[in-house]
Each structure stands twice: as C-alpha cells, then as structure tokens.
C-alpha cells in the first residue's frame, strides 16, 4: 500500500519526537496553502519576473558530436537551461516556494543546509527578497572549496555557520541544521535543499521542482516530439526528480539518473548511493544509504560538493527498484573532462554536479540509439552554472 509520505517501501518520517509536530504543521500547510490560487499566483509571478522562468531549451549540436568516438551525431541533445535561473541553478525554484510557504506559516527565521552552496545562495536570496532572517549550515570543507558562494550568501545577509564535525560536508551540515531545528522548532522554518529528508520534504520539493520537467516537456512537444531519454545528475536528486516527474507517465521516455562515482565504484571514495548503497535510514527517510554492516554511515566522496552525500531522495529509491529509472555513474575525472568539453563545444560553463550527467551521455546515447535503430533525442537537465567550481576545474587543468 502506498500511504502518505511513502514511495513504495521508501520515505517515511524517522525523526526525534520534537520535530514530528513541526512536520505535521508543514504537511498541513503544503496541502492547504500550496494549491491555493493566491499562493500559486504569487509563486509563479516571482518565478517569471524574478527567477526568469520559463528557462529555454538549447540544442547542443557540437557537444553531441563529441560524445561519439567516431564523431557521428548519435544523438540530438537538448539542454534544459536551469543555469539561466536567477542565482544560477534550479535550487531557486524550491527555495522561493518553501520560503513563501514559511511566510504563510508565520515563521520569521529560516535555516538551511548547503553542500556546494547553491541551495544556500538560493535560500539567502529568497530570504532577502521576502524579508526573513537566514542562517545556512555548511561543512567547513565545502566552505573552502566553494568560497565564492560563501561570499555571496554573506553579501545577501545570511549567516553562514561552518560545520567542523564528521566529513565536514553536506551530511554534517544537515545533521547540524536538524539540531538547530530541534532546538528552535517553534520559531524556525527548515528549508531542505533536496527531495530528501522526512515526509513531507521529498514530496514538497518534488512538487516545487516539477516545473523543470513541465516546461521542458512542453518545449519538446513544441519542437515536435517527446524526448527518447531524460538525463539528470543525482546527489539528493531534486533536479532529477523535478524533470523526471513530468515524464514518468510517458512510457516511451527512458529516465536516467547519474550519480558521482568519485574515484571509482570499486573504491570506497564515491557517492553512488543507488549503485552501491543499502536500504537504511538517514536524515529522516528510509532510502538507499552508504553505510557499513554495523549501520554506520560512510562518508561519501565526490569532486562535486553538491553530490557529496551518502543518502538520496526516497522517490529515486522507488524509481530504481521499480526499474522506471536507470541509475548510472560518472567519476570525478569524467565529470571534469565533461565540464571542459561542454565549455569548449557550447560556450557554457556548467556546474560539476551537472557535468556528471554530461559525462554519462556517451553510453546512454549509444544504448538508446541501438534500442531505437536511430539517433536518440536526449533531454539533459543542465541544473546549474559552474562559476562556483572554477577553482576546482582550473586546479584540475580545465583552464589549459
């Protein structure tokens, strides 16, 4: 039976008792406020006039030739340009939606966790726009490798709180945000950055990000046909679920999620939760988790701070187990190479998260072309721009 907050056997609400009433309150607001015409009108007004939606589809002809070893165009590539959103990534759709909801709920203090900083920047931006105070927890390691975003959050008036525990990355930032929320739950709204966490967050975030897929699907139909495949990177998985949701009912469309294989799936330095994880509970949801035989969570690794997370949104766990979506992975090196190739072929500097999706396009295109006996039409979610990753890409030699 599928009941509230569950995607098959995944999801649920595994949190300290103190937070349960707050999650109930949020779920009520999600059901009662979110669908109202007034709320939707305000949100969509902002998405148009402030965020710059709808974002366009761009055809990537030169990169399409590069993904084939023989230089043949084995695919038609369409890029959904979330990098063109205000603040440079899809994260703003979710942050604006949640903070409008928080305001409707009478909350004045916002907390968030961030890995790469894109969700932190988006939340700080929405908080500034709506006049709310904002604190963002970020792992100390991520603050080092994503310094431009730390500066942006501070300029926007947010307090960035370094988290020095554990792996000093996204997982630990989320732990710290949950501790803050338990302490200040009566006054504080926790803006979760991905389609992960306890119910209702996975459902709430997916419904706010679904606009990516709805717009892309309409644009594809305007161009004449649905895509054969939809590809997106997966850390927590919010851009992927946002684009997948619109195509889930289109049986002709294959869905591909691309996880971070880090130094390789055969090593212990990766973030490929759906490929190498097991069913567990982390940060409030039952899902696939990287953990050892004793149930201790293993620190994830990815060159991309935004994918460096040992859990994944529970809806992806269901899509994986039902076979509706296929999850593959790309290594650090493959992603860095892809970032450089996309920049040179298309004049677009993509985020390292997004670069994982591009890195996997070769095998996906071949597989789809073989299955269909013709070049495949592939829609890729370009989830964000890569300014924040310039130091990492340059250090790797991408600027050569």
């Amino acid at each position: 039976m599928l009941f509230a907050g569950y995607f098959g056997p995944f999801g649920g609400r595994f949190v300290a008792e103190t937070l349960v009433p707050a999650l109930e309150e949020l779920d009520r607001a999600r059901q009662e406020v979110l669908p109202t015409q007034a709320f939707q009108a305000e949100l969509h007004g902002l998405l148009q006039s402030y965020v710059g939606r709808p974002t366009p589809l761009t055809e990537a002809k030169r990169f399409a030739r590069r993904i084939d070893p023989d230089g043949e165009a084995i695919a038609e590539l369409l890029l959904k340009r979330e990098d063109l959103c205000h603040t440079g990534a899809h994260k703003i759709n979710n942050a604006l939606g949640q903070l409008l909801l928080a305001k409707a709920m009478g909350k004045t203090r916002i907390i968030a966790e961030t890995g790469a900083g894109q969700h932190g920047v988006a939340t700080a931006t929405a908080a500034a726009l709506l006049g709310l105070s904002c604190e963002v927890y970020q792992g100390a390691l991520d603050m080092e490798r994503q310094a431009p975003n730390v500066a942006r959050m501070r300029l926007l008036g947010a307090r960035v709180v370094p988290v020095a525990s554990g792996s000093r990355t996204l997982k630990d930032a989320m732990n710290e945000a949950l501790r803050d929320w338990v302490t200040n739950v009566r006054t504080t709204y926790y803006c979760v950055g991905s389609a992960a966490g306890p119910h209702p967050y996975p459902t709430l975030v997916a419904s706010l990000q679904r606009i990516i897929g709805d717009e892309a699907r309409a644009s594809c139909l305007d161009r004449g046909a649905l895509p054969d495949a939809v590809v997106a990177c997966v850390g927590g998985g919010s851009n992927a679920i946002g684009i997948f949701k619109a195509f889930e009912g289109d049986s002709s469309v294959s869905l591909y999620g691309v996880e971070a294989a880090g130094l390789g799936l055969e090593t212990d330095k990766h973030a490929a939760t759906l490929s190498r994880g097991r069913v567990g509970v982390l940060h409030g949801a039952k899902t696939y988790v990287l953990c050892d035989d004793a149930g201790q969570v293993i620190e994830a690794h990815s060159v991309s701070a935004g994918l460096d997370y040992p859990g994944v949104g529970p809806e992806h766990a269901r899509l994986r187990d039902t076979g509706r979506a296929t999850y593959v992975s790309a290594t650090d090196t493959e992603a860095l190479d892809a970032a450089r190739e996309v920049a040179r072929a298309e004049g677009i500097v993509i985020a390292l998260e997004t670069a994982h999706a591009f890195a996997a396009l070769g095998p996906i295109a071949r597989r789809e072309a073989e299955a269909r006996g013709r070049p495949a039409r592939i829609l890729v979610c370009l989830s964000g721009r890569g300014d924040k990753d310039l130091d990492t890409i340059t250090a790797y030699g991408g600027g050569k």
Binding site: F14, T18, G166, T183, V281, L282, H283
Partner: protein, 275 residues
C-alpha cells in the same frame, strides 16, 4: 512480571524516584564501559540506558556526539554493545534499556536485534528517531521476545499528538509496560537546563495520560537539577535520565581509575539528591 515493570513497582512501594543513567557504550572502550556500568549500579542507578553509538546522532549535542565518535573508533557496534549488556546482566538485575538510532537496527534486522537483545538480558529498546507510527515492525519483533519499546514525548507534543503516541505505543501482549520518556525541552542532549520544575509537572500529566511511569530527561546535570526534574515526592515524574553530564565526567577524567571514581561520585550525588 517483567524486570523493568517490577523495578517501578518496587520504587513506587519505597516512595523513591528512579535514577536512570545513560552510558555511551564503547567510550572510552567496550571493556571500560562494562566496568563503568557496574560502577553506576553500585553507586545507586536503578536502571541503565546502554547507548549504541551512531555516526550521525542528530538528536545529540556535541558532548554525546564526541562520545559516539570515540566509541565507534573503539570498535563499538550494536552487537558489541549487546555483549557489554550481557556482561552487566551477569552481575546485576537492574533493568537495561538499549538506546539507539534506527539505522543500526534496520541494517542488522529488527527480529535479529530483538532476539540478540533478549539473549543479552536487555529489557527494552529506545530508538530516538523512530516515532511510534514508524515503530510497528520493531514493536512486534520486540514483543515476540518479551521486550518493550519506549515512546518519547516532547514539549512540542500537543494533546492530539500525545493521544496518537499513546495509541501507537500501547504495550503489546508479552511486552513490558516499561515507561514513557519525557523530553524536558526542545533541543538536543546536553543543552542548558530549561524549566525542569515545569518538566516535572508535565511528566505528572503524562503519567495520567499514558497510565505508565514517566522519566524526564535532557538538561539534568547535577543533583539539584535531578531533584527539580523529578518533582514532588508524591507527584512529578517517576524518575530522571542523566546522560550528557556523565559523559562529560568520563571525557574529562585522565585515567581509567579516575573515570570510575568520577562515575561513582556523580551517580552518588544524583542518588542522594533524589532520595
């Protein structure tokens, strides 16, 4: 009668408040935890919570998070914590509550954990991130082995929520009644004491709602605060749970001997204050 229920009957008869002591097992080592547990019992603990360390303890403050890290580094796992429990059980009849986050239980398998816990002489499980609505599989597995699952209530638990917790956590056939854990404040373990006198009054209301003993925990760091949290001799809570303050004493002690002395001294202080 189950060991844990028996203990509450005895305490009530004697007009005494229960002192439940939490130990993060494996901090500083698995062997030392066994000794520290016995030291706490000798010094007057009525009940022990044996903590399974977890890598991502979101309900814990920095002191217990550090203790968990040390314990994991020392090789503590759920099964090894149960080994310590069985060593304590061989020497004492105090009720033992296994305290854990849910992931180690889920990964090991609920039926298996319940079986091992019973074999180790554990009386109940307390899973801090498992609200009663999600706890049915564990409650079933535990009841089959004669073990309880302790529900938690918090200051944010409104009346309808308390009723929902009560319904979802009514002891199953074969399980002990055990107790209800009442969190004294919104916050993580080890936060500064809040209004513990109010927490004691809330606990009294909770006992009426649940018709089960109620222990108050969080923010108790001295004999004086234990007394406040326990409340009036004839009302208030049925007892208190103390964890972070003890972990801090263990952390600050320079040697194994000093740790044992620190546990003895602190638990004795709590005992005197409650009696």
């Amino acid at each position: 009668m189950h060991r844990i229920d028996q203990r509450f009957v005895e305490l009530r008869r004697a007009g005494r408040k229960a002192l439940c002591v939490y130990l993060c097992v494996g901090d500083p080592s698995l062997e030392a935890s066994g000794f520290l547990a016995l030291e706490a019992i000798d010094a007057g603990a009525d009940m022990l919570e044996l903590g399974v360390p977890f890598s991502d303890p979101t309900a814990d403050g920095p002191t217990l998070a550090r203790a968990a890290q040390r314990a994991i580094a020392a090789g503590a796992t759920l099964e090894r914590v149960l080994d310590v429990a069985s060593r304590v059980r061989a020497r004492s009849e105090v009720p033992l509550v296994l305290f854990t986050y849910y992931n180690p239980v889920l990964v090991a398998g609920e039926a298996r954990v319940a079986r091992l816990a019973r074999a180790a002489g554990v009386d109940a499980l307390l899973v801090v991130d498992l609200p009663p609505e999600e706890a049915a599989p564990l409650r079933g597995a535990c009841a089959a082995e004669g073990l309880g699952v302790v529900p938690l209530v918090s200051p944010t638990s409104h009346a309808a929520r308390i009723e929902a917790i009560r319904r979802a956590s009514t002891p199953l056939d074969g399980a002990p009644r055990a107790f209800v854990y009442s969190i004294s404040m919104t916050g993580v373990t080890g936060a500064s004491p809040s209004d513990l006198a109010a927490a004691a009054r809330d606990a009294e209301g909770m006992r009426r709602a649940f018709d089960r003993p109620v222990l108050v925990g969080f923010g108790i760091d001295s004999g004086a605060s234990a007394k406040l949290a326990a409340g009036e001799a004839t009302g208030g809570a049925d007892g208190v749970v103390v964890g972070t303050a003890l972990a801090r004493h263990i952390e600050q002690a320079a040697s194994g001997d000093e740790q044992r002395r620190a546990v003895r001294t602190f638990v004795s202080e709590l005992r005197r204050a409650l009696d």
